[in-house]
Symmetry: C2
Subunit: 349 residues, 2 copies
């Protein structure tokens, strides 16, 4: 039976006959897979904006709806675990649509033999994270797969939120002259995971920044009307997030290397492992593209919030080089910050 | 760090220190896991009804919200594949809340090395199933895990629907005197999967009944107001679904073995494999508990619908033996139809 209904796959299957780890890495291969395969068949206009979630009309309300599966390895890491990460990640995807997150679902795929007390710790951690974020876990599902057909536990969370009237957050709304704000230090989550995996030891433990950002977004929305884009730079890091925005809005983005906040220990770990921190995942940071008149007020509000204390102006949106992100380097040169091609860090979230 | 916040796990961990396949099988161990672990921590009043989905107030609307992960093996089977199953399953969970399904999310967890053209077939199948069901796939996520850390592909779908005013479907609403209707033959899905796995050959191929039931539910809701409970008897089959309803509503249920529709080939396959068809999964059937005055009209409407042609009155709700399902056997005796304990069929959906 031809399930494809006669449609040829738009992805060059001869080039990639099998799925690679990099197809899930958040970089160029991920984008190619999503665009050519999913967007071509799931042809809903609601999917088109390549947002962190979909914005849906229901009655006279606008709902945000988002989903993410979490396959992070290891499942417990400094600063969090797969359970808190799964709650934060989907709460943040909703918040990046400008929505107030309300309800989450939790779908567990557990490998036979997984320790019951680890499951209990994860469930408790999800509940604590949900309570802190002010969302309710309202529906769930549990599947168990045979030994060696899974990897401990995978968790999907999906979420529903309501977008308040007047809020219009959309990656296509970035415009020349807008400021690019970043809520704090980069690469903390990815390097916390990698340091555990690689057995790296530092004087100060590298901790994930995993956190729910909806409270910070609430504060920002109260501080200024001109928030055009919000994005949490998870898989693929700040570089990939900025490239996606530049591409969606057909604008250029210029950032300043000197402005990027990064902990010394994280920088050191990146150097040891040969990783560029601009491509490393964050799980408690956001990028905001805001109108120039509101930038100061919004930045000050961020800096007063516990999750935005180290917020900075990272750069600005330009009419030049649409679709491209350029960084002014510390030594005064400038270089293109490209989309990540291939896989940098597998199973980071 | 004690993530559990000092709460002791209410599940007897000494008895089950590790997760078993049966904890995902839809029977008694699944229920125990869900009740003691998830319901105790995710203490939302919205979770309590043990429904197929949650019913949520948003503005002046009532939304239904549901999630399911699909881990069926093999991913292609007679009558469907993991993609169509994932769309139908979540559409059906929403329909069983009395909701009109509107939007679905799709979260893919793909094992490295999965064939790209199989993924394409699955994506096309999902899109065709969504179109037929009248729902839109609006948001998604793709993760890739290392070889031997997954099993080809797992798909989570979550869904959102709107419950029309006046519709009140709830497993607690079953009351003595209500009729128990069943929309068609049982055990087709589970035995289609098993026949492929076990390499059984029959004169007529066993085909899954996987289908979206929202159209049938729409028709039923137009035919009579007295629909109290809807349930699709998936994992754990008709027996587990009826036990859950009897337990939720604290009523007895009496069914008539003679009335149960089952294909000869399915019956034969069950006998060969030693399986009781009452516990085998269906993916395109529903049980309806309806008031006695509306039962005839609703049954006639079901029988006019392509997915309810073989609908029958399976039995009735009783005040006797609350919490228990009793079957009048073909030879005139009666036996308790218990909740499935342990695992009958792993990875059936």
């Amino acid at each position: 039976m031809d399930l494809s209904g006669g449609f040829a796959c738009p992805l060059p299957i001869s080039e990639y006959p099998r799925v690679l780890l990099a197809h899930g890495g958040g970089g160029r291969l991920s984008q190619q897979l999503i665009r050519s395969m999913f967007l071509s068949r799931f042809d809903s206009a609601l999917l088109a904006p390549m947002h962190d979630g979909a914005v849906l009309p229901v009655g006279d309300q606008r709902l945000a709806f988002s989903t993410d599966s979490y396959v992070v390895h290891p499942v417990f890491f400094p600063g969090g675990d797969i359970g808190s990460l799964a709650v934060h990640g989907t709460v943040n995807d909703l918040a990046m649509c400008g929505a107030r997150p309300l309800y989450l679902s939790a779908g567990f795929i557990i490998e036979e033999g997984f320790a019951m007390d680890d499951l209990w710790r994860i469930v408790c951690s999800m509940q604590a994270a949900a309570r802190t974020a002010g969302v309710q876990l309202v529906t769930g599902d549990t599947k168990v797969v045979d030994r060696h057909k899974g990897d401990g536990i995978f968790i999907n969370t999906s979420g529903v939120g309501v977008i308040p009237p007047g809020v219009e957050i959309d990656p296509r709304r970035a415009r020349p002259g807008d400021r690019v704000l970043l809520s704090g230090s980069i690469a903390d989550h990815g390097m916390a995971i990698m340091s555990v995996r690689e057995g790296l030891e530092f004087e100060t433990e590298l901790r994930s920044d995993t956190a729910a950002l909806n409270g910070l977004v609430d504060a920002m929305l109260s501080a200024g009307r001109q928030i055009h884009v919000l994005r949490d730079p998870t898989r693929g890091g700040v570089a990939s997030a900025l490239n996606e925005i530049a591409d969606s809005a057909r604008v250029g983005i210029r950032i300043d290397e000197e402005a990027i906040p990064i902990a010394d220990s994280v920088k050191g770990a990146c150097e040891i492992l040969g990783l560029d921190p601009l491509y490393v995942a964050n799980e408690g940071k956001l990028i905001a593209i805001v109108g120039p008149n509101d930038a100061d007020a919004i930045l000050a509000t961020m800096q007063r919030h516990p999750l935005g204390r180290d917020a900075v102006v990272l750069g600005e949106v330009t009419a030049d080089h649409p679709g491209t992100v350029v960084m002014k380097t510390r030594i005064g040169g400038s270089r293109v910050v490209d989309m990540l091609s291939g896989e940098q860090l597998p199973r980071i979230c």
